[in-house]
């Protein structure tokens, strides 16, 4: 077993850390107050290659592996969750699905500009009336000649107002005996008649990120924009989550680290009863738990990344990593605020933002409850993963790095 990171990995970490610390950290508090994503973020992430990190160079990507995707997610979220959310939806939930399920033509048309960061992508699964229960999806895509006609509404969609492309899951067969099989996935170009969208304000966390809604009214979607086969939408959506959740797990790991670092700094600096508060055992215990959960969360996402690199199914391991890391991040953030006392309760310090952002992670990409059901299901043998028609391709450095 080899736990060491390669020099490529280390340099990817350094690059991402430098960007996040130098450019985002100084402006994040103000962006949170304004509830506005600074305009430079997406173009700058594109320029650095972060938006195409783990895609083959022939599709406009940077040719790095899936572990690198986790590592940059950790580094981004160690500064702010909204940066990692960009990676989760643009890379994890959307572009990786194109790599996995897309036809060669779809990869050229959609993956290529997305990997280059020329087009931004989002993921539209959730609806006003359907979250955890995907079978509750009401959006419809009716076949009409060579096209589909899309109607419906998607809610809580990260980057809704920033994206050019959306992967949307809609019902193509309302009569399907198993409602899972009545769903299909589509790539929707958002700049077209019948699409409207907006941002949601007043969120608890990721305030400087974009979370919004998409509405479709008689939007014509050419059949060649369908991803996978008709009726395959549920399976595709779940495979998207295998990748999105991986980035959330890694990101939450970074959030735990941020809580730990902030707590260490403050515990050494703040004094009470004549000594620095780090000398009190009750403070030490909080720090010890943060160390423990950081290390454990990191190993869990490393394993998921390793499975992905090797082309092995990782739904169970990724779900476990996501559930563990996000619950632990919320705990760590709550304790980090506690260690900071009243100062932690104000946005003069970062820890209150960590706490608000950590709560969201326990909700999106499968609530903590859903992950518990999954884990129990696997353990009890009620849940078994069957092979997919198309699996995420294993990482092959020669193929990834060669320019076609």
């Amino acid at each position: 077993m080899d736990f060491s990171l390669s020099s490529d990995h280390q340099m990817a970490i350094n690059l991402t850390r430098d960007f996040a610390r130098k450019e985002v950290a100084p402006v994040i508090r103000e962006a949170e107050r304004q509830q506005q994503m600074p305009d430079f973020i997406l173009p700058e992430m594109a320029k650095l290659g972060l938006l195409g990190i783990c895609f083959p160079a022939r599709y406009g990507g940077q040719g790095m592996d899936y572990l690198s995707l986790g590592l940059i997610s950790e580094e981004l979220e160690a500064v702010d969750s909204t940066l990692r959310v960009v990676i989760s939806v643009h890379v994890g939930l959307n572009s990786m699905a194109l790599l996995q399920w897309g036809t060669e033509e779809q990869k050229q048309r959609f993956l290529m500009p997305q990997a280059r960061g020329e087009k931004i992508a989002c993921f539209g699964l959730t609806e006003p009336g359907a979250g955890s229960d995907v079978t509750g999806i009401r959006s419809t895509a009716r076949r009409q000649g060579g096209d589909y006609v899309l109607n419906g509404e998607k809610m809580w969609i990260s980057l809704a107002t920033r994206a050019h492309h959306a992967l949307v899951v809609a019902r193509t067969n309302p009569e399907a005996a198993d409602p899972h099989e009545g769903l299909s996935a589509f790539i929707i170009e958002l700049d077209q008649p019948g699409v409207s969208r907006g941002d949601i304000h007043g969120k608890l966390g990721v305030r400087s990120g974009s979370t919004g809604w998409l509405a479709f009214q008689d939007v014509r979607v050419p059949a060649e924009n369908r991803l996978g086969e008709e009726g395959e939408g549920f399976k595709i959506a779940m495979s998207c989550l295998d990748n999105g959740r991986y980035t959330v797990a890694a990101g939450a790991t970074g959030l735990i680290r941020a809580c730990l670092d902030a707590s260490l700094r403050y515990a050494r600096e703040r004094t009470a009863f004549g000594r620095e508060i780090g000398k009190f055992q009750l403070i030490q215990q909080k720090i010890a738990f943060m160390v423990q959960s950081y290390e454990a969360a990191r190993l869990l996402y490393f394993r998921a990344g390793w499975l992905k690199n090797n082309g092995r199914r990782n739904t169970r391991e990724t779900s476990l990593a996501k559930w563990y890391a996000t619950d632990a991040a919320f705990q760590a953030a709550a304790e980090a605020v506690q260690i900071h006392g009243a100062y932690g309760y104000s946005d003069e310090y970062d820890v209150e933002r960590y706490l608000r952002n950590a709560k969201g992670e326990m909700i999106y990409e499968g609530t903590s409850e859903i992950h518990q059901l999954m884990q129990a299901g696997y353990a009890l043998g009620y849940r078994v993963d069957t092979p997919l028609r198309k699996e995420l391709p294993p990482y092959d450095p020669d193929f990834w790095q060669a320019i076609a």
């Binding site: 490529d8 990817a12 690059l15 940077q62 790095q401």
Partner: protein, 257 residues
């Protein structure tokens, strides 16, 4: 143009550098490329972006200094060379300049040798000038930018306290850049992979034909800055007016103004 950029591996600027038992230590803080040298690499790369040519990164240090060189490669330098030798342990600025000058000569055909303004660990800021002297090249230090280059001359704008000064020198020359050259670029992932795979040659003193350096300066003692006694007092009040009045009284009473 053939440009050599000299880079040094130093403790991270965020590291807490202290003296313990008479030795300088920065704990387990990471080592990074000297931040001023990143500007030097940027300046050198900008020159070849405009003029064509190649940038070679050169460092003197131990095996760890390869990381600084890899960073320079990832930013876009074509090659990297490390000079490393157990006899260089604790070498002073003049010794360093001798080594760098010899390496520049061994590389051969160099038009420009570029430095950062100083290294954030030693902060002596003399290596560029000393290297120039040893090579017999003109030293154009603290350059904020390059105004023009011809086949045998270079014109730079120097950032000095009184303002800007335009100076011209013959090539080959030694140049040191300040921050004004512009923010260093981020490495690219292509550059990162190239840097990871790069075989960085290591030159010894023997290969440079140099004897073991005899330091002219040494550090007989290093001391921590005296600990400062700071007391903090929060001034409170019902209104900003009241707080400001109390603050003014305090400032006057303490004779700060």
């Amino acid at each position: 143009m053939k440009i050599v950029v000299c880079v040094k591996q130093v403790p991270d600027s965020a590291a807490r550098v202290v003296v313990e038992h008479g030795e300088v230590t920065w704990g387990d803080a990471p080592l990074v490329i000297n931040p001023w040298d990143e500007y030097a690499v940027e300046g050198a790369l900008r020159l070849v972006d405009e003029q064509g040519g190649e940038v070679i990164a050169l460092s003197m240090g131990n095996e760890q200094a390869k990381e600084a060189l890899k960073h320079a490669l990832a930013m876009g330098c074509k090659e990297a060379i490390l000079v490393s030798d157990p006899q260089l342990q604790g070498v002073d600025s003049l010794g360093t300049a001798r080594v760098l000058a010899a390496a520049v000569q061994k590389i051969g055909g160099v038009d420009l040798v570029v430095f950062g303004r100083q290294a954030i660990d030693g902060d002596a800021g003399v290596t560029a000038a000393m290297t120039a002297r040893l090579l017999g090249f003109p030293a154009l230090t603290l350059a904020a930018g390059v105004r023009g280059v011809s086949s045998d001359r270079i014109v730079v704008e120097r950032a000095i306290e009184e303002g800007r000064q335009v100076v011209e020198g013959a090539l080959p020359a030694v140049l040191s850049f300040t921050k004004d050259i512009g923010e260093p670029r981020y490495p690219s992932f292509m550059g990162i992979r190239k840097a990871s795979r790069a075989e960085i040659p290591i030159w010894s003193l023997d290969e440079l034909g140099l004897p073991a350096p005899q330091p002219h300066t040494s550090w007989p003692a290093v001391l921590n800055p005296p600990a400062r006694e700071i007391t903090t007092e929060m001034i409170t009040g019902a209104t900003p007016q009241e707080i400001a009045e109390k603050l003014v009284d305090k400032i006057l009473a303490e004779k700060v103004l």
